[in-house]
């Protein structure tokens, strides 16, 4: 048994090699030269400080619908995909966009959720899909001016204190950006996968790329990219205009080693469906966007 004060790289490496050959246990206070076992222990200790990923009671799979850039149609995509999926599975939607909760409008649901005997919120349901949103709890005119931690606290409550009961897939409509909310969600919840929504424009793709990068860094499986607001077909003459560019998602998918799940055409019926609370996949199931959503859901 001996101790020595090693001052250089060479000595450390020499001792390490020696220990491999002669079965000597060696211990270094420098983590750079620590044995694998010591590094593992250090990582374990550091992980204790980080939030643990919890499962959500009543939910089998969690899918994050994110975008990076705002205004690309994330909520509309989340709603229509959820409805397309609900043909095959039991689906729920969590509206985690605390500042701009669109789900109540898009799903035509309003009113304060009731409570179960054990104080869990009963998610209002429409079209067979259970929903929870802060939109049910605040007035349409109220501004939620909260900092990050409060926002995450609210989202956690909406997630964990809702009586989801028997939901196969919970779609989470996330706030825009690659901010700390998305990070917190990825760190605290078991996420089965993430879908990234973008338009074909470079500015949207740049933000989607950041989102994909972030997901990869925290170990969330990116299922793929949805390219929204694809070409616009004039109802009058049939002329196609790629208002927001084209094929951007394909380039991004190649660069980030993900895939394009599909594209959604730019069609006013999608917007009408969203605003009226009658999603296009239900009102016009044979329309191009509805078929595209169904394809992605498959």
């Amino acid at each position: 048994f001996g101790l020595c004060n090693l001052k250089n790289v060479g000595s450390h490496r020499f001792l390490q090699k020696l220990s491999e050959q002669k079965g000597i246990y060696w211990f270094s206070s420098s983590s750079y030269f620590a044995s694998d076992k010591l590094k593992e222990r250090q990582e374990e200790l550091m992980k204790r400080g980080l939030p643990k990923r919890k499962p959500i009671p009543g939910v089998k799979h969690v899918l994050l619908v994110s975008s990076g850039k705002g205004g690309v149609g994330k909520s509309t995509t989340a709603v229509n995909l959820a409805l397309a999926l609900s043909k095959h599975k039991s689906v729920g939607i969590l509206d985690a966009d605390i500042f701009g909760p669109s789900i109540p409008t898009m799903m035509n649901i309003s009113g304060n959720p009731e409570l179960t005997p054990d104080n869990k919120m009963i998610p209002p349901t429409n079209f067979g899909v259970k929903c929870m949103s802060i939109g049910f709890l605040v007035d349409p005119d109220q501004a939620v001016v909260w900092r990050g931690p409060m926002v995450m606290g609210a989202i956690t409550k909406l997630l964990m204190e809702t009586d989801w009961k028997g939901v196969d897939i919970l779609m989470v409509d996330t706030p825009p950006g690659t901010g700390d909310i998305l990070l917190s969600l990825a760190q605290t919840v078991h996420v089965s996968g993430a879908i990234v929504v973008t338009t074909p424009q470079k500015v949207a793709l740049a933000d989607a790329s950041k989102g994909i990068d972030m997901f990869k860094k925290v170990g969330v499986n990116v299922l793929g990219i949805v390219e929204n607001m694809d070409g616009f077909v004039c109802a009058n003459c049939g002329h196609i205009t790629h208002i927001f560019g084209r094929d951007g998602a394909r380039t991004l998918a190649e660069k980030s080693e993900t895939k394009v799940l599909g594209g959604i055409a730019l069609d006013p019926t999608v917007m009408v469906g969203a605003d009226s609370g009658k999603p296009v996949v239900l009102t016009h199931p044979q329309s191009t966007p509805a078929i595209q959503y169904a394809q992605i859901a498959k």
Partner: protein, 231 residues
Amino acid sequence: DIDLCGPSIPRMLGVHGREVHQHDAGWLPVYTDNSQTLGVMSIGFLLGNQDDPVVWRGPKKTAMIRQFLSDVTWGELDVLVIDTPPGTSDEHIAVMEALKDVKVDGAVLVTTPQAVAVGDVRRELTFCKKTKLKVLGIIENMSGFVCPHCTECTNIFSAGGGKSLAEHAKVPFLGSVPIEPNLALAAETGQDFASSFATSEAAIRFKSIFENLLLDNNGTVAENSGDMDTT
């Protein structure tokens, strides 16, 4: 550009990938050309790799925004335009706090015509009221699309929502701007849309909106140029 997660301004102004230079008094804004009439500051210039996500929590975002206002040597400005991210969170609180001793002329709110977008902007209006920020007006963007082939106008994102909101909230309606593919393209390539497509309907509408903005304030924006000290 205080949209720290999605800094689009550098690309839109054709200064994507440029570096920020420091001198004794602080950081220099990145100028779009030699005339130095338009200076830009964005986190986009500070990222080592443009694709790196900025996943910061509140305190760091707040500190960055404060630095943008206090450490950048903007010089004598007539107008400082602050582009905010969507929502009413850390960035918005941070900028209002950092500007609390500065006379802020007001906020311009942009919406698309649809109900879901207008619904979000209603909350922004409340934020402005709560923070005593004057609302200079609402702009309705992406208001109708005229097919280049047959000139039929389709209201892809509905129409009139912004105008209705302005009436309901009793704030000025500054005007509406149609969807213009050339504008989207100009944003992609950093082109000056107003110059390159001056005769397009979108450019004409923008011009009229900005003229109204300056006039409605009785030239206050220009008048206050001396007072607007952001250091």
